[in-house]
């Protein structure tokens, strides 16, 4: 590139832009290659071709010659695929993926050092080899024609039966498009077919969007948080003013303004929150490639189904979700789905199924990961737990099937017979669960032995603002995340029992370990009678929190405690209430963890109470 024509900073800016653009394109391309290996899709092939073409053009402008040469050869090969002169079988997909992986590495080189550091000659040669020797005949691209028919059905212009007739007819008159035949048969007018065709072309057009620096969004979110707090104060002042009386008109005005600000703030909060939401597809996009590679490694044959990529989730959650998802998918491929021969012996389809589905449920996002593999061997899990001395026989016997299933989340447990490079080391499921719980989420597992396993992850939409139960211990206020609270119990005499100096609550024949907020967080230690127990539930674990009184539900904005205080166990942050007071937010998972240390007492009582019941 001519240095005189462009200043250095301008050039750097352009290169930065190129890196962002091309890495994004490459990610999509790699994903699409895996997709077209499964089924040829003209739209996708065109998309890949265009992306590689674009990178080639831009790279040549910027003087990245190795990258240009590689992209050029890749484009040539894709050109054949596009024209239908080559089929994307595994071999072709392999070499294309190799080329694109290398392109990604080079883009990474450019990001870090400004020049390409990889040699592409061997891959280029491979691509060239494919170009000369292997012109395979591709299947006629039926895909698009089919789609027109399907769209016509969707538009309720023709029926399914009619389409089948048309397709049959097309077999004898191969040079005709479905649309033409439909018109000939007078099933639809020419106009209708044309409209549908136009729709088909525009369907792929993406929504309009701009790139925003995450920092800016975070700033906005912080400001909205402050505004929510301001709103809460205004509501408080309004109710105070009402209580103390005053001029009627002033009060009316205040009430007016309060409800106005409340409404606006709520809406603003929602839309800023939505701006931070990212489609979950970002996490899912890596999975097809991973499953493909793992299948190769373990000699398995798996069909991957991904649904609900458009489900949205807060940005920070998306990042934190990547690792657990990778773990889970690896587990399913490695230990879940059996090898084809074994599946056949069991009378299952040779091809295993791995399905990943995301959807919204209220203020939560649910992700289901399902595989039709060998399921969980409940007895093996129980044996392992016993062997490691984590629970006694009596305890294990008292567990429900679902509870027992969720034992796989206990640290240090792996039922895999063999250790492989990717899973079976006994770390994994517990890490998955802790990671998910860190995000205020929950994870459960369900399975039928020999048939299937389903892992469910439940996540909140956002981390920054949540509904909480405000409770009081002595004069101190605390917030408990509302999504974990299952019930409130008013304390009466006889409900509390003491086991090994630990208080527990007996509620409807179950024993719930208790944590007394007063003892844990307050300085005063004098006993006070009465109060409430807040029952909190995370997955299969239950803990009760003893408080003096319950104030009510509130929307709280979570503020981190800062560098010095961030590692306090049991506290996840703080928030500011309407009256300006700072209150602490309890971190229930870590509270439960704390209590697990006293598990022995718990299990002891369980045995005692079980015998007492009989």
């Amino acid at each position: 590139m001519d240095d005189q024509a462009l200043q250095k900073d301008e050039m750097q800016e352009i290169i930065d832009e190129f890196i962002v653009e091309s890495s994004e394109l490459m990610d999509n391309v790699i994903q699409d290659i895996v997709a077209i290996e499964q089924s040829q899709d003209e739209e996708k092939v065109n998309g890949i071709f265009r992306a590689v073409h674009t990178i080639k053009g831009t790279a040549s402008f910027l003087g990245f010659n190795v990258l240009t040469a590689l992209a050029h050869k890749g484009e040539d090969l894709l050109g054949l695929v596009r024209k239908g002169e080559m089929k994307t079988d595994q071999e072709v997909a392999d070499v294309l993926l190799e080329a694109f992986d290398l392109m990604k590495l080079m883009i990474e080189d450019i990001r870090t050092g400004g020049v390409e550091n990889h040699d592409a000659s061997s891959v280029i040669e491979k691509l060239a080899g494919f170009l000369v020797s292997k012109k395979k005949n591709a299947e006629p691209p039926q895909e698009e024609k089919k789609k027109i028919g399907e769209m016509l059905i969707e538009e309720k212009i023709i029926t399914k039966g009619e389409l089948e007739d048309v397709l049959k007819k097309q077999e004898t008159e191969t040079d005709k498009m479905v649309g033409e035949i439909v018109v000939e048969e007078k099933l639809a007018t020419e106009g209708q077919v044309k409209n549908t065709l136009i729709k088909q072309k525009t369907a792929g057009k993406e929504e309009q969007s701009i790139r925003i620096d995450v920092k800016k969004l975070d700033e906005l979110m912080n400001l909205v948080g402050e505004l929510v707090l301001g709103k809460n104060r205004l509501i408080l002042v309004n109710s105070l003013a009402k209580k103390e009386g005053g001029g009627e008109s002033v009060l009316d005005n205040l009430a007016d303004v309060t409800s106005y600000v409340e409404g606006i703030t709520n809406e603003l909060q929602l839309s800023v929150m939505r701006a931070r939401l990212v489609p979950i597809g970002k996490v899912f996009s890596k999975i097809p490639r991973m499953v493909r590679d793992l299948c190769g490694e373990f000699k398995k044959d798996i069909e991957l189904k991904v649904e609900g990529e458009e489900t949205e989730l807060d940005r920070s959650l998306i990042e934190a979700l990547t690792d657990p998802m990778i773990h889970i998918v690896r587990n399913s491929v490695d230990h879940g789905v059996e090898v084809p021969a074994e599946r056949e012996k069991k009378g299952k389809n040779r091809k295993g199924l791995l399905s990943i589905k995301a959807y919204n449920e209220g203020n939560h996002v649910i992700i289901d990961i399902f595989d039709d593999g060998k399921g969980i061997n409940l007895q093996a899990v129980k044996d392992k737990v016993k062997e490691k001395g984590l629970m006694s026989e009596a305890e294990l016997a008292s567990l429900s099937t679902k509870e027992a299933m969720n034992l796989v989340f206990i640290p240090g447990l792996s039922t895999a017979q063999k250790v492989s490079s990717v899973s079976g080391r006994g770390v994994g499921m517990d890490v998955v669960k802790t990671n998910i719980e860190k995000m205020n989420g929950q994870a459960y597992i369900d399975s039928e032995e020999g048939q299937w396993t389903k892992l469910t992850i439940k996540l909140p939409l956002t981390l920054a603002i949540m509904r909480a139960l405000i409770v009081k211990s002595e004069d101190e206020l605390f917030a408990i995340p509302l999504n974990m609270v299952t019930e409130l119990v008013k304390l009466k005499e006889g409900l509390l029992k003491t086991v090994d100096k630990n208080e527990v609550l007996v509620l409807r024949n179950t024993v719930i370990p208790l944590m007394d907020l007063q003892k844990t967080f307050s300085r005063k230690t004098e006993e006070k009678q009465g109060g409430y127990v807040v029952i909190c539930n995370i997955g299969e674990k239950v803990v009760g929190i003893k408080v003096h009184s319950v104030v009510g539900q509130e929307e709280v904005v979570i503020k981190p405690l800062g560098e010095f205080l961030k590692n306090i166990k049991g506290i996840s942050g703080a928030t500011i209430r309407g009256d300006g007071k700072v209150i602490l937010i309890l971190d229930i998972p870590s509270v439960i963890l704390h209590h697990n240390n006293q598990k022995k007492a718990y299990s002891h009582l369980r045995a005692v109470s079980a015998s007492a019941m009989n």
């Binding site: 265009r50 674009t54 402008f61």
Partner: protein, 126 residues
């Protein structure tokens, strides 16, 4: 001052061309594909168009055909700037009404010179 519409699906190329063209203080309008460009042309008066060939939704040749159908843009100079060296596509482009066919990468000063001369021609006639 003259306005130039840059049509390319790569934001990097648009930025790059933008920087080059700003040296001669042209006003730059950007569009990411043919469809987008047609829409932009509806409310911006454009003196010259630089267009890529291979783009989603509406490609360069299709776009130029549409452009020439529009009374106001029948004579607007169009430079097609593309990586393609395919002779058939080049012919198609000229048939559609492209004034000049350049291959990427192009030297910035060369591009500026060509833009200037195409705009000058325009003035001589008008």
């Amino acid at each position: 001052m003259k306005t130039i519409l840059v049509v390319d699906d790569s934001p990097t190329i648009r930025k790059l061309l933008g920087y080059i063209l700003k040296k001669k203080s042209y006003i730059i309008a950007e569009a990411e594909d043919g469809l987008d460009a047609m829409e932009k042309l509806g409310h911006v008066q454009v003196d010259l168009v630089i267009v890529d060939l291979n783009m989603p939704n509406m490609d360069g040749i299709e776009f130029v055909k549409n452009l020439r159908d529009n009374y106001y843009y029948m004579d607007t100079p169009v430079i097609m700037l593309t990586t393609t060296k395919d002779e058939k596509l080049k012919k198609d482009a000229f048939d559609a009404g492209v004034n000049m066919f350049l291959n990427k990468p192009v030297q910035p000063n060369f591009l500026l010179y060509k833009v200037e001369s195409l705009l000058g021609e325009e003035e001589d006639h008008g």
